[in-house]
């Protein structure tokens, strides 16, 4: 739906990182390197970002 504000497991803020992650990966950078570079070193926060399906744009017009 929409990226959660924080990591479910540890509580690190992940919401603000998602748009940047999508942009950088879209420009051809390797996802693992982008996550390392943005300071996500625990696998709980990494999975929040890599496994997210951003569907809010599809839901929004129906609201």
């Amino acid at each position: 739906m929409i990226i959660p504000v924080r990591c479910f497991t540890c509580g690190k803020v992940v919401g603000s990182a998602y748009p940047e992650y999508v942009k950088r990966v879209g420009m051809g950078e390797e996802p693992a390197k982008v996550l390392d570079d943005m300071g996500f070193d625990r696998y709980c926060c990494r999975r929040m970002i890599i496994s997210h399906a951003d569907l809010i744009g599809e839901i929004a017009p129906l609201g």
Partner: protein, 276 residues
């Protein structure tokens, strides 16, 4: 008991707790996780009904339920200043809510747009703007709008995680990695360098050398293949801590406050025993 600071950035810290006990280390960890007072949004008021902007009528409807938006606003880290604000229970207003214990934010956006945490405007002191400005709160399409007033108060994370200032707080026994000096230049022993998953060892002029003992995870993979030449031990009197903060407090503040809370609570215990 001493603390040696290894790294103290704004949002990330690591230190060694020296000459202590596992009970003390765990008390410090738990205090950092659940007892640090911090500001977070606790009450959210939504404007319901049409919102008029420049003669156009917008509906106060969003793709997410109001509860979800309120929860998301709560999770946004709010800057905390102990000098400016006190917990509501100790405030002069006796919990009613006043500028000494609450921060008011207004959030007023019309679609189509993505509402970000940076769109929250503090009423009064503009230093209280949230530092993380790019957290998406909700997306609006054309004709949708939000008008929200949110109130932040001080709390502790034993009541709700939104008041958790430090996270990822963990410690391990300080690793002690030893190499038998007589066997260190044995070429076969250099295999240990590739076996170690944390890159603790290096080859220096043909001798096996420990370069980064703190990174060791005590997995003992090196011990198993070295036939006794390498020994790994966890020191249960020294602890290597690492933690992060969400930006509402600095790493340094979290450690100082935690140490203060432990001292205060331990002092209280001594008094209670005295009174018995």
């Amino acid at each position: 008991m001493d603390i040696e600071i290894l790294e103290m950035a704004e949002r990330k810290g690591s230190f060694i707790l020296k000459d202590s006990t596992p009970a003390m280390a765990n008390a410090l960890r738990r205090t950092m996780l659940s007892d640090i007072p911090k500001m977070a949004i606790d009450k959210v008021e939504f404007h319901l009904g049409p919102i008029m902007v420049d003669g156009k009528e917008y509906e106060s409807v969003t793709p997410l339920f109001d509860e979800i938006i309120a929860h998301r606003l709560g999770m946004v880290p709010v800057p905390t200043d102990y000098e400016l604000f006190s917990p509501q229970s100790e405030c002069v207003c006796e919990g009613e809510g006043c500028p000494n214990c609450t921060i008011m934010y207004s959030l007023n956006k019309i679609g189509p747009c993505t509402v970000l945490s940076g769109d929250m405007i503090p009423l009064g002191n503009s230093d209280l703007k949230v530092k993380d400005e790019d957290i998406p709160i909700v997306e609006l399409t054309d004709g949708q709008a939000v008008l929200i007033y949110a109130t932040a108060v001080i709390g502790r994370s034993r009541d709700h995680v939104k008041w958790q200032a430090a996270f990822g707080v963990g410690y391990k026994y300080l690793p002690k990695v030893g190499i038998d000096p007589d066997a260190a230049d044995d070429p076969e022993l250099l295999e240990v360098i590739d076996v170690c998953p944390r890159k603790v060892f290096e080859d220096k002029d043909g001798r096996l050398t420990v370069v980064n003992a703190n990174a060791c995870s005590l997995c003992r993979a090196c011990e198993r293949i070295s036939r006794g030449a390498v020994t790994v031990e966890g020191d249960d009197r020294n602890f290597l801590f690492t933690y992060d903060t969400d930006g509402s407090l600095t790493a340094r503040q979290v450690l100082d406050v935690a140490a203060g809370i432990i001292a205060e609570e331990a002092g209280g215990l001594a008094e209670q025993i005295e009174a018995l």
